[in-house]
């Protein structure tokens, strides 16, 4: 028996309400996290927080400067390794399509799905156990393992978006293939490529599991990348599960800084890429 129009309209309204509700429901945890982190992390922020090193466990005072240093340096190591390799790998995927490229692209996509804890234990065996040392270097390598496939895929996709006419125009004018690639294509796809890189940096900045068994932790500032390093993410993990109220405050403070950096990067990138769309000549 066919439904009446009134019933159908009612079902339709219910659907629209449910769908909108779904969206709002998803926003609730986001807003809660932002609120809790801001509210509880703000208390932690003072001059000492940014200048002192982590105190002995449970101890009073101190700050997280060693964690900030460790995170920044390991992200820098990962970026120094991951960005060039990822960029050029992505360029290869674009410039020389074929069996090698297809297989490598598939491998890259699979690698982006590898759980980060697996990355951690593999890098422990490959680097930490081999060189007999926990190190920021090992942590950086673990992060770069995650970064390379992401950057490669996003570079490939950004280059694909460049209209063929630009590439053909360059080649028609007699510009050699490498120069076409470097000067014309990459600069046209610049904003997409930079977006991809920035998002991958934001992603690895927030990673914890790969650092647990590679960088260990450090009570002091590190003076060598071949020694262990504290990081903001591992600090949040340890201090969040500790009983001390002072530790919880530090954890929220570190989470606030991390959120500001990561979300800030995401927001800046989104806004910037909308202001400068990829336009053909």
């Amino acid at each position: 028996m066919p439904k009446s129009i009134a019933t159908r309209r009612l079902i339709n309204k219910v659907f629209i309400v449910c769908s909108t509700l779904a969206f709002l429901v998803a926003l609730v945890p986001l807003l809660s996290i932002l609120y809790e982190t801001l509210y509880k992390g703000f208390d932690a922020l003072n001059f000492d927080f940014f200048t002192q090193m982590t105190p002995p466990i449970g101890g009073p005072g101190g700050g997280i400067i060693n964690a900030i240093q460790g995170s920044l340096i390991m992200v820098a190591i990962a970026s120094l390794i991951g960005i060039p390799i990822g960029l050029f790998a992505g360029a290869y995927l674009y410039e020389y399509p074929g069996r090698v490229a297809n297989n490598c692209r598939l491998i890259a996509e699979v690698l982006t799905g590898v759980p980060s804890i697996v990355t951690g234990i593999v890098v422990y065996v490959v680097i930490v156990a081999t060189f007999h040392s926990f190190s920021a270097f090992a942590g950086g390598i673990a992060l770069s393992f995650m970064m390379i496939p992401i950057v490669a895929i996003s570079t490939h996709e950004s280059l694909k978006l460049v209209p063929n006419s630009i590439k053909e125009g360059g080649l028609a004018l007699g510009v050699s293939r490498p120069k076409t690639l470097l000067y014309i294509l990459v600069s046209t796809a610049k904003s997409g490529i930079v977006t991809g890189i920035a998002l991958s940096v934001a992603r690895i900045m927030g990673e914890t599991a790969p650092l647990l068994f590679t960088a260990l932790g450090n009570q002091f500032m590190m003076n060598s990348i071949f020694g262990p390093a504290e990081s903001m993410t591992v600090l949040i993990y340890e201090y969040g599960t500790a009983p001390y109220q002072s530790a919880h405050v530090f954890a929220w403070g570190a989470a606030l800084i991390l959120l500001l950096l990561v979300l800030g990067l995401n927001i800046v990138v989104r806004i910037a890429s909308r202001l400068k769309p990829v336009t053909p000549i």
Partner: protein, 355 residues
């Protein structure tokens, strides 16, 4: 031989040393490394708490420069790390801690436990706080009709070793079913109607107890005291209910340490005799290679700094122990430690000169 003859030493180069292991002594060791760095700014020693199991594993694999463990090395573990030696750097008590604040029982109320009752809780046969056995032991307290959440370690732990050692020695049922080790299979995890929770490190266990109403756990004393958690009185070998504190842990050490042998400084003081001895007391050990060149990552300046740090720790460092609820080493243990530390060498050359 006093520490003053070595006090004139100055480091020859800037060195960074990495240690890792037990969370039991972590507050004290980290206090030492920070203080030592203030005394000798060229020596940076960083200690990370990854559990006694981790300490043993990482020093055996020569990934860290020294390890720390409350669990004494087993013969098998010692055989797997030729050249490794160890010495106790401090001792403390494993507190049976609980959180009943939500039920009107503040942390200042001292509950009484026998090893049998503790064993039954962790075997999942005592399920609620108002179980008749617990009520009988604590007639002056109104225990609530609430489930007991038994918190234990999820990682390899010397604190677990001491705790389960105590239960094994005093409760034959526990010894047969569970035994003692750095990591055991807790029957409470799978017993019907019971709930066990695993926490990582002493901080993780203390955190879980602090966050869970009706939880019980076992942690080094300072983790319970500085977080306002209840500390139970445990029945010792003499039949008295004793809370852990500097005095009762010291009694245990005095009664059970015996004559320490520098060649094998494994000391068992669990369930010590003596009317006021705290039964779950334990020494905790630093693990290092006798010939430090065994570890290719350790240079001569590093080895010298490490040896002097260890010497400082068992002498001057002991003054920081009571403030953190660890007991200063008894004199005979310090002497034995000294004898061991004097054998530390680098390719044969002793690191601590007796001049």
């Amino acid at each position: 031989m006093t520490s003053s003859s070595i006090a004139g030493w100055q480091p020859t180069a800037s060195v960074t040393i990495v240690g890792a292991g037990a969370t039991f002594p972590q507050p004290l060791i980290q206090k030492w490394t920070v203080t030592y760095n203030q005394l000798y700014p060229q020596v940076t020693i960083s200690y990370s708490g990854i559990g006694s199991g981790g300490g043993i594993q990482q020093i055996t694999a020569k990934v860290v420069d020294f390890g720390a463990s409350d669990a004494p090395l087993s013969n098998t573990q010692w055989a797997a790390a030729p050249g490794l030696v160890f010495f106790p750097e401090t001792l403390g008590g494993v507190a049976v801690t609980y959180n009943l604040a939500a039920y009107g029982i503040p942390s200042t109320t001292v509950l009484h436990f026998t090893s049998s009752v503790i064993a039954q809780i962790y075997m999942g046969t005592i399920l609620k706080w108002n179980d008749p056995q617990l009520v009988a032991l604590n007639p002056n307290v109104t225990l609530p009709d609430a489930h007991i959440t038994a918190v234990h370690r999820s990682d390899g732990s010397g604190t677990t070793f001491a705790f389960t050692n105590f239960l094994s020695v005093t409760d034959p049922n526990w010894a047969a079913q569970v035994g003692y080790a750095t990591s055991v299979t807790w029957p409470v995890d799978t017993a019907p109607g019971a709930a066990g929770v695993g926490g990582k490190g002493n901080p993780g266990v203390a955190g879980a107890v602090a966050n869970t109403n009706g939880a019980i756990g076992y942690v080094d004393l300072i983790y319970a005291l500085s977080n306002n958690l209840g500390v139970g009185a445990v029945e010792n070998a003499a039949g008295n209910f004793v809370q852990p504190n500097l005095q009762t842990i010291l009694y245990a050490a005095q009664n059970a340490t015996g004559t320490p042998n520098p060649k094998d400084l494994r000391l068992h003081i669990v369930n010590a005799a003596g009317p006021q001895s705290y039964p779950i007391s334990t020494y905790t050990y630093i693990l290092t290679y006798q010939d430090m060149s065994n570890d290719p990552n350790i240079s001569l300046p590093m080895a010298q700094a490490m040896a002097h740090f260890f010497w400082w720790a068992v002498h001057d460092g002991q003054q920081y122990a009571p403030g953190l609820y660890y007991v200063p080493l008894p004199a005979n243990v310090v002497s034995a430690d000294e004898q061991l530390l004097l054998t530390l060498n680098y390719q044969g050359t002793p690191l601590l000169s007796s001049s």
